[in-house]
């Protein structure tokens, strides 16, 4: 009877979660009907950053591994799409899948060696990998256009719709983001998610204990790294077709640090945190760039940077467990199943 109750409560929790996802999707799909083109393009940014950040949350919050190098995977996606579609006239969709496969392949190749390191040193090696990617892109001028980047990237096309218009890009980005969210939430609830938490020292688990129980700890870490690399790569490909230009500066350390900030500010406990973190950081950025010039005239950009820094510091100081900690059971209920 007890077991039955447990199972039924679990089923209802899953149902609740699915309803929340459906509601979220409904809200996100109706938003563009009410607002103009400028906020739409900011929302496209939120969606793209969220996709990358979901991967970071799985990697950091569930597998307990840090990366300050995901700009490289974002960049691999963007550059694969850009190079294949401009130099070789590939279909953008095929390029997107090839980019994701390449990112995943690279992540699988480096993951096993990389995860011999922990904590700070893992952060260091991912940072170095990001630097290697950046400088290679800057140097391979024939292929990547070097520091000038690549231009005239074709937009994504689906059934005659041309995704260069920001409304259509918005829908595509957010549909993909929500599909990825649903997949990640299910993964977090599955046997994989429980295994990951059991080996994550930050979530009260123990790597040694997991290993003693026969869990191949390294293989799980690598799998999550591959998944997060694929997410980042998909976002990168969409970004390339959306912006129509790529240049190496986008794929440098500040991007990698920003997605970690978004993950932490949103909350590492649940993939939902990605949307909160990305929404907060992009929202603050857009708000400041829009509102600050009204109040202060002077050097453009300076007051925005100061305010941005101060808000980031305050958010981290007062919400160390992320925005998700402000929300109720629907978002964080999987704590109870650990």
């Amino acid at each position: 009877m007890n077991a039955f109750r447990e199972i039924s409560s679990k089923i209802s929790a899953v149902k609740l979660q699915n309803r929340v996802i459906a509601l979220f999707a409904l809200v996100m799909m109706t938003i563009p009907l009410g607002i103009g083109p400028y906020p739409i393009s900011a929302m496209v940014d939120v969606g793209l950053y969220s996709i990358v950040t979901i991967g970071i949350i799985l990697l950091m919050g569930f597998a307990g591994q840090i990366s300050i190098g995901h700009a490289a995977f974002f960049g691999i996606g963007a550059y694969t799409s850009a190079i294949l579609t401009t130099h070789y006239q590939f279909s953008p969709w095929l390029a997107l899948f090839l980019g994701a496969a390449l990112s995943g392949g690279i992540a699988a190749a480096i993951g096993r060696a990389m995860f011999r390191l922990h904590g700070l040193m893992l952060a260091g090696i991912t940072l170095a990998l990001n630097l290697v990617f950046y400088h290679l892109v800057c140097s391979m001028i024939g292929l990547t256009g070097g520091a000038m980047g690549l231009i005239n990237i074709p937009p994504l096309i689906l059934g005659g719709f041309n995704f260069s218009r920001s409304f259509l890009t918005y829908y595509m980005v957010w549909i993909i983001a929500i599909v990825i969210l649903g997949f990640s939430l299910n993964l977090a609830d599955s046997q994989v998610g429980r295994t990951l938490r059991s080996m994550n020292t930050h979530a009260g688990g123990s790597e040694n204990a997991a290993q003693v129980l026969g869990i191949n700890v390294n293989s799980y870490k690598v799998q999550i790294l591959v998944l997060s690399a694929v997410y980042a790569s998909i976002a990168g490909s969409i970004y390339a077709h959306h912006a129509r230009v790529v240049e190496p500066g986008t794929f440098f350390i500040p991007f990698s640090v920003m997605v970690v900030i978004m993950a932490l500010l949103g909350g590492l406990r649940s993939p939902w945190g990605a949307f909160l973190g990305a929404g907060l950081m992009i929202g603050v950025r857009e708000f400041l760039w829009e509102v600050m010039p009204v109040f202060v005239t002077g050097v453009t950009g300076a007051y925005e940077l100061i305010a941005y820094g101060v808000i980031l510091i305050l958010a981290l100081l007062f919400l160390p467990r992320g925005l998700i900690s402000l929300f109720g059971r629907a978002f964080t209920k999987r704590r109870a199943t650990v």
Binding site: G119, I125, L127, H202, L317
Partner: protein, 291 residues
């Protein structure tokens, strides 16, 4: 390769190695006391360079200009610790790391407000002319860069190895509880380490400005160079940072002289990847003391 060419590469390697070392030492000072990697270290370097240029252009002689820049940067370092890191002392290291990133944005904004977008430069210290040596050319600033780095290195060795204050600082990271029972005020020591690192950073900023110029946004790239040097050699030992800095500088200069295009930039992060895979805490690091 002929001799003048090799000598030229060696000299620029020594110069680059000194810069890498000097940048890395700032990370070592804070890490060895607080176990924190301060991603705002490059901003102190930027601040030091900018302030020195400003004071120098006001007509203040060079040495007092640098001194003022060091004092102001030191105060900024104290502010970073007291108002941002100290309130978060119980938080995870990652949160503290990202708090320093928040400080980076804020300080860049302040710098942009004061100095604008322009690049600024200084003449070589005391207008030292270029030196011709066996067919190689030494830029006038290079001896000053290498000399200042040597002075920093010797000073740090003396301070951490020979003085009771230096030993108290190191004890905070090695044995926090033990240090406390011996009456060491850990928070005070952490504050000192931030002031010291910020001051060292400001000196580095002043000494590299004649070579590289300075602008409000240069901090990130310097932070990355310092992190590479500190991680390659081992962030918890001064010897490690020196070895890492010199090795990276020499290798990068050699690569820049021999490899065409921008590929030499791949050398430094490439070395870090290889080193970390072979020695997971850096070449000279004491294992178990890096987290």
């Amino acid at each position: 390769m002929d001799f003048p060419n090799a000598l030229q590469i060696f000299i620029s390697g020594a110069n680059l190695g000194a810069i890498y070392t000097a940048l890395g030492l700032g990370f070592f000072v804070i890490y060895s006391v607080t176990r924190l990697v301060n991603l705002a270290q490059g901003e102190f370097v930027m601040l030091g360079g900018m302030l020195t240029v400003s004071f120098y252009k006001m007509g203040i002689p060079l040495v007092p200009s640098i001194t003022l820049a060091v004092i102001i940067s030191g105060l900024a370092g104290a502010g970073l610790y007291r108002f941002i890191i100290y309130p978060a002392r119980g938080y995870s290291r990652l949160t503290q790391l990202l708090l320093t990133v928040g400080f980076v944005f804020a300080i860049q904004g302040v710098a942009l407000l004061i100095w604008g977008w322009d690049f600024r430069s200084l003449p070589a210290f005391f207008n030292t002319p270029c030196i011709q040596l066996w067919g190689a050319t030494i830029f006038g600033q290079t001896p000053w860069v290498i000399g200042a780095t040597l002075v920093m290195v010797i000073g740090l060795f003396f301070f951490f190895g020979r003085t009771i204050q230096g030993k108290a600082l190191r004890a905070c990271a090695n044995e926090p509880l033990g240090a406390r029972t011996m009456g060491v005020n850990i928070d005070r020591m952490a504050l000192y380490s931030f002031i010291m690192a910020a001051g060292l950073g400001a000196v580095v900023g002043a000494m590299i400005t004649p070579l590289t110029m300075t602008s409000y946004s240069m901090g990130w790239s310097l932070t990355i160079k310092g992190v590479l040097a500190a991680f390659v050699g081992g962030i918890n030992r001064a010897e490690g940072v020196i070895l890492g800095g010199v090795a990276l500088g020499m290798m990068e200069a050699a690569a820049a002289g021999m490899v065409p295009g921008g590929y030499h930039n791949v050398i430094a992060p490439g070395i870090l990847i290889v080193v970390l895979l072979l020695r997971p805490h850096g070449i000279l690091a004491i294992p178990g003391r890096v987290e």
